[in-house]
Protein backbone atom coordinates (compact mmCIF):
# COMPACT_ATOMS: atom_id res chain seq x y z
CA UNK A 1 0.00 0.00 0.00
CA UNK A 2 2.63 2.60 -0.91
CA UNK A 3 1.22 5.98 -1.84
CA UNK A 4 1.68 7.25 -5.38
CA UNK A 5 2.58 10.68 -4.03
CA UNK A 6 5.68 9.26 -2.39
CA UNK A 7 8.21 7.34 -4.43
CA UNK A 8 10.82 7.31 -1.71
CA UNK A 9 9.83 4.00 -0.18
CA UNK A 10 10.80 5.20 3.27
CA UNK A 11 7.70 3.83 4.91
CA UNK A 12 8.22 1.28 7.63
CA UNK A 13 4.53 0.62 8.14
CA UNK A 14 4.34 2.33 11.52
CA UNK A 15 1.43 4.50 12.44
CA UNK A 16 3.47 7.73 12.36
CA UNK A 17 4.90 7.00 8.93
CA UNK A 18 1.49 6.09 7.62
CA UNK A 19 -0.12 9.08 9.24
CA UNK A 20 2.45 11.41 7.72
CA UNK A 21 2.02 10.02 4.25
CA UNK A 22 -1.61 9.16 4.08
CA UNK A 23 -3.50 11.63 6.21
CA UNK A 24 -5.02 9.29 8.76
CA UNK A 25 -7.57 11.87 9.80
CA UNK A 26 -9.58 10.65 6.84
CA UNK A 27 -11.52 7.59 8.00
CA UNK A 28 -11.51 6.06 4.49
CA UNK A 29 -8.51 4.39 2.79
CA UNK A 30 -7.48 6.43 -0.25
CA UNK A 31 -6.64 4.61 -3.49
CA UNK A 32 -2.92 3.75 -3.79
CA UNK A 33 -0.71 1.46 -5.91
CA UNK A 34 -2.41 -1.64 -4.53
CA UNK A 35 -5.78 -0.28 -5.65
CA UNK A 36 -4.38 0.45 -9.11
CA UNK A 37 -3.06 -3.07 -9.44
CA UNK A 38 -6.36 -4.62 -8.38
CA UNK A 39 -8.24 -2.42 -10.87
CA UNK A 40 -5.81 -3.57 -13.58
CA UNK A 41 -6.46 -7.23 -12.75
CA UNK A 42 -10.21 -6.57 -12.70
CA UNK A 43 -10.03 -4.94 -16.13
CA UNK A 44 -8.56 -8.22 -17.43
CA UNK A 45 -10.60 -10.77 -15.50
CA UNK A 46 -13.79 -9.36 -13.97
CA UNK A 47 -17.12 -10.29 -15.53
CA UNK A 48 -20.80 -10.70 -14.66
CA UNK A 49 -21.93 -9.76 -11.17
CA UNK A 50 -19.01 -8.45 -9.11
CA UNK A 51 -18.49 -7.86 -5.39
CA UNK A 52 -15.62 -5.78 -4.10
CA UNK A 53 -15.05 -6.68 -0.44
CA UNK A 54 -13.59 -3.82 1.61
CA UNK A 55 -14.34 -1.32 -1.14
CA UNK A 56 -13.09 1.71 0.82
CA UNK A 57 -13.59 4.80 -1.29
CA UNK A 58 -15.19 2.69 -4.04
CA UNK A 59 -12.48 3.65 -6.53
CA UNK A 60 -11.73 0.11 -7.77
CA UNK A 61 -15.44 -0.81 -7.86
CA UNK A 62 -16.26 2.29 -9.90
CA UNK A 63 -13.58 1.39 -12.47
CA UNK A 64 -14.66 -2.23 -12.57
CA UNK A 65 -18.22 -1.20 -13.46
CA UNK A 66 -16.84 0.07 -16.79
CA UNK A 67 -15.21 -3.24 -17.72
CA UNK A 68 -16.76 -5.02 -20.70
CA UNK A 69 -18.76 -8.07 -19.64
CA UNK A 70 -19.40 -6.74 -16.13
CA UNK A 71 -23.13 -6.39 -15.48
CA UNK A 72 -23.29 -5.20 -11.88
CA UNK A 73 -20.80 -4.17 -9.18
CA UNK A 74 -21.44 -4.11 -5.43
CA UNK A 75 -19.04 -2.72 -2.85
CA UNK A 76 -19.06 -3.83 0.77
CA UNK A 77 -17.20 -2.45 3.76
CA UNK A 78 -17.43 -2.65 7.56
CA UNK A 79 -16.71 1.08 7.71
CA UNK A 80 -19.86 3.24 7.40
CA UNK A 81 -17.82 6.22 6.10
CA UNK A 82 -16.44 4.02 3.32
CA UNK A 83 -19.94 2.80 2.42
CA UNK A 84 -21.15 6.39 2.10
CA UNK A 85 -18.12 7.41 0.02
CA UNK A 86 -18.57 4.43 -2.32
CA UNK A 87 -22.28 5.17 -2.72
CA UNK A 88 -21.47 8.79 -3.62
CA UNK A 89 -19.38 7.38 -6.49
CA UNK A 90 -22.40 5.44 -7.72
CA UNK A 91 -21.32 2.07 -6.31
CA UNK A 92 -24.08 -0.06 -4.75
CA UNK A 93 -22.87 -0.18 -1.17
CA UNK A 94 -23.58 -2.74 1.54
CA UNK A 95 -22.22 -2.53 5.08
CA UNK A 96 -20.92 -6.01 5.72
CA UNK A 97 -18.21 -8.10 7.28
CA UNK A 98 -16.34 -10.00 4.53
CA UNK A 99 -18.90 -12.05 2.57
CA UNK A 100 -21.23 -12.83 5.51
CA UNK A 101 -24.53 -11.42 4.12
CA UNK A 102 -24.26 -12.65 0.53
CA UNK A 103 -26.06 -15.61 -0.97
CA UNK A 104 -24.44 -18.80 -2.14
CA UNK A 105 -23.11 -18.56 -5.73
CA UNK A 106 -24.22 -14.90 -6.02
CA UNK A 107 -21.07 -13.55 -7.74
CA UNK A 108 -19.08 -14.24 -10.88
CA UNK A 109 -16.16 -12.21 -9.57
CA UNK A 110 -15.10 -11.21 -6.06
CA UNK A 111 -12.35 -8.60 -5.59
CA UNK A 112 -10.51 -8.00 -2.32
CA UNK A 113 -7.64 -5.68 -1.42
CA UNK A 114 -7.43 -6.78 2.21
CA UNK A 115 -5.95 -5.05 5.24
CA UNK A 116 -2.61 -6.83 5.17
CA UNK A 117 0.07 -5.01 7.17
CA UNK A 118 1.44 -7.25 9.91
CA UNK A 119 0.82 -5.23 13.07
CA UNK A 120 2.18 -5.50 16.59
CA UNK A 121 -0.90 -5.97 18.80
CA UNK A 122 0.53 -3.47 21.32
CA UNK A 123 0.85 -0.83 18.62
CA UNK A 124 -2.66 -1.03 17.19
CA UNK A 125 -4.41 2.30 17.13
CA UNK A 126 -8.08 1.36 17.01
CA UNK A 127 -9.67 3.50 14.32
CA UNK A 128 -11.07 3.03 10.80
CA UNK A 129 -7.66 3.45 9.15
CA UNK A 130 -6.37 0.60 11.28
CA UNK A 131 -9.31 -1.50 10.13
CA UNK A 132 -8.31 -0.68 6.54
CA UNK A 133 -4.61 -1.43 6.98
CA UNK A 134 -3.91 -3.90 9.74
CA UNK A 135 -3.95 -7.61 9.05
CA UNK A 136 -3.13 -8.46 12.67
CA UNK A 137 0.14 -10.03 13.80
CA UNK A 138 0.44 -12.33 10.78
CA UNK A 139 -1.00 -9.86 8.28
CA UNK A 140 -3.47 -12.60 7.35
CA UNK A 141 -6.15 -12.25 10.02
CA UNK A 142 -8.79 -11.18 7.49
CA UNK A 143 -7.39 -12.97 4.45
CA UNK A 144 -7.78 -16.40 6.04
CA UNK A 145 -11.47 -16.16 7.05
CA UNK A 146 -12.15 -14.53 3.67
CA UNK A 147 -10.60 -17.49 1.83
CA UNK A 148 -12.55 -19.91 4.02
CA UNK A 149 -15.95 -18.41 3.09
CA UNK A 150 -15.58 -16.80 -0.35
CA UNK A 151 -16.00 -20.09 -2.24
CA UNK A 152 -19.59 -20.19 -0.93
CA UNK A 153 -20.63 -16.95 -2.67
CA UNK A 154 -18.83 -17.70 -5.93
CA UNK A 155 -20.75 -18.95 -8.96
CA UNK A 156 -19.43 -22.10 -10.62
CA UNK A 157 -16.45 -21.03 -12.76
CA UNK A 158 -16.31 -17.73 -10.87
CA UNK A 159 -13.05 -15.98 -9.99
CA UNK A 160 -11.66 -14.33 -6.87
CA UNK A 161 -9.10 -11.58 -7.46
CA UNK A 162 -7.09 -11.14 -4.27
CA UNK A 163 -4.34 -8.60 -3.75
CA UNK A 164 -1.37 -10.06 -1.87
CA UNK A 165 1.69 -8.26 -0.54
CA UNK A 166 5.01 -9.94 0.09
CA UNK A 167 4.77 -8.37 3.59
CA UNK A 168 1.85 -10.70 4.26
CA UNK A 169 3.62 -13.81 2.97
CA UNK A 170 2.77 -14.71 -0.60
CA UNK A 171 3.49 -18.43 -0.13
CA UNK A 172 1.35 -18.66 3.01
CA UNK A 173 -1.61 -17.03 1.28
CA UNK A 174 -1.36 -19.31 -1.75
CA UNK A 175 -1.09 -22.34 0.53
CA UNK A 176 -4.19 -21.31 2.47
CA UNK A 177 -6.11 -20.72 -0.77
CA UNK A 178 -5.16 -24.19 -2.02
CA UNK A 179 -6.26 -25.68 1.32
CA UNK A 180 -9.64 -23.97 0.76
CA UNK A 181 -10.01 -25.74 -2.61
CA UNK A 182 -8.78 -23.02 -4.98
CA UNK A 183 -6.41 -23.05 -7.89
CA UNK A 184 -4.19 -19.97 -7.76
CA UNK A 185 -2.61 -18.06 -10.61
CA UNK A 186 -0.83 -14.69 -10.59
CA UNK A 187 -2.51 -12.13 -12.87
CA UNK A 188 -0.35 -9.05 -12.30
CA UNK A 189 2.65 -8.30 -10.14
CA UNK A 190 4.63 -5.19 -9.32
CA UNK A 191 7.67 -4.62 -7.15
CA UNK A 192 8.26 -1.66 -4.87
CA UNK A 193 11.27 -0.93 -2.69
CA UNK A 194 9.90 -2.73 0.36
CA UNK A 195 7.14 -5.00 -0.92
CA UNK A 196 6.01 -6.88 -3.99
CA UNK A 197 2.31 -6.68 -4.77
CA UNK A 198 0.54 -9.41 -6.70
CA UNK A 199 -3.03 -10.10 -7.65
CA UNK A 200 -3.98 -13.75 -7.46
CA UNK A 201 -6.82 -15.18 -9.53
CA UNK A 202 -8.44 -17.98 -7.56
CA UNK A 203 -10.88 -20.43 -9.07
CA UNK A 204 -12.55 -23.45 -7.55
CA UNK A 205 -11.10 -26.76 -8.55
CA UNK A 206 -14.38 -28.53 -9.26
Amino acid sequence: MPNEADGSGEDDGTRDALAARRGLDDPVYAPAEDSGLLAEAAAERARGVVLEVGTGSGWVAERTAEVEGVSRVLGSDVNPHACRRARERGVEAVRASLVDPFRDRAFDTVLFNPPYLPTDPDAEWGDWQEAALSGGESGRELIEPFLEDVGRVLAPSGTVLLLVSSLTGFGEVVEHAVDCGFRAETVVEESFPYETLSVLALSLDN
Binding site: V49, L74, V78, P80, C83, R84, R87, E92, A93, V94, R95, A96, S97, D100, P101, F102, R103, D104, A106, F107
Partner: protein, 64 residues
Protein backbone atom coordinates in the same frame (compact mmCIF):
# COMPACT_ATOMS: atom_id res chain seq x y z
CA UNK B 1 -30.31 0.22 -2.21
CA UNK B 2 -31.99 -1.26 -5.24
CA UNK B 3 -34.79 -3.70 -4.59
CA UNK B 4 -33.01 -6.26 -6.78
CA UNK B 5 -30.31 -6.48 -4.10
CA UNK B 6 -32.66 -8.89 -2.33
CA UNK B 7 -31.60 -11.53 -4.88
CA UNK B 8 -28.00 -11.17 -3.70
CA UNK B 9 -28.09 -10.58 0.06
CA UNK B 10 -29.20 -12.80 2.92
CA UNK B 11 -29.13 -12.85 6.71
CA UNK B 12 -25.45 -12.79 7.77
CA UNK B 13 -26.24 -15.07 10.72
CA UNK B 14 -28.15 -17.96 9.16
CA UNK B 15 -28.16 -17.14 5.39
CA UNK B 16 -31.95 -17.15 5.12
CA UNK B 17 -33.97 -14.74 2.96
CA UNK B 18 -34.58 -11.17 4.04
CA UNK B 19 -37.93 -9.45 3.88
CA UNK B 20 -37.96 -5.78 2.90
CA UNK B 21 -40.03 -3.11 4.54
CA UNK B 22 -39.68 0.34 2.98
CA UNK B 23 -39.88 3.61 4.93
CA UNK B 24 -38.64 5.93 2.21
CA UNK B 25 -38.05 5.53 -1.51
CA UNK B 26 -36.25 7.78 -3.97
CA UNK B 27 -39.06 8.83 -6.30
CA UNK B 28 -41.57 6.36 -7.72
CA UNK B 29 -42.23 2.68 -7.10
CA UNK B 30 -39.06 1.41 -8.73
CA UNK B 31 -36.79 4.00 -7.09
CA UNK B 32 -33.98 3.10 -4.70
CA UNK B 33 -34.86 2.39 -1.10
CA UNK B 34 -33.42 5.14 1.07
CA UNK B 35 -34.59 3.90 4.43
CA UNK B 36 -36.31 0.83 5.73
CA UNK B 37 -35.66 -2.51 7.35
CA UNK B 38 -34.57 -5.94 6.21
CA UNK B 39 -35.88 -8.72 8.44
CA UNK B 40 -34.66 -12.30 8.42
CA UNK B 41 -37.53 -14.62 7.52
CA UNK B 42 -36.06 -17.28 9.79
CA UNK B 43 -34.45 -15.78 12.90
CA UNK B 44 -36.32 -12.45 12.80
CA UNK B 45 -33.18 -10.33 13.21
CA UNK B 46 -33.70 -6.82 11.80
CA UNK B 47 -31.16 -4.94 9.70
CA UNK B 48 -31.61 -1.22 9.10
CA UNK B 49 -31.33 0.56 5.73
CA UNK B 50 -30.12 4.13 6.25
CA UNK B 51 -29.22 6.72 3.60
CA UNK B 52 -29.68 4.04 0.95
CA UNK B 53 -27.17 1.66 2.55
CA UNK B 54 -28.26 -1.62 4.15
CA UNK B 55 -26.36 -2.41 7.34
CA UNK B 56 -25.93 -6.17 7.20
CA UNK B 57 -23.33 -6.42 9.95
CA UNK B 58 -24.23 -9.02 12.54
CA UNK B 59 -25.78 -7.32 15.59
CA UNK B 60 -22.63 -7.66 17.73
CA UNK B 61 -20.59 -5.67 15.17
CA UNK B 62 -23.19 -2.99 14.54
CA UNK B 63 -21.89 -0.41 17.05
CA UNK B 64 -19.34 2.26 16.04
Amino acid sequence: MKESLLDIVCCPLDKHDLELSVDERDGEDDGEILSGTLTCTDCGEEYPIEDGIPNLLPPDMREA
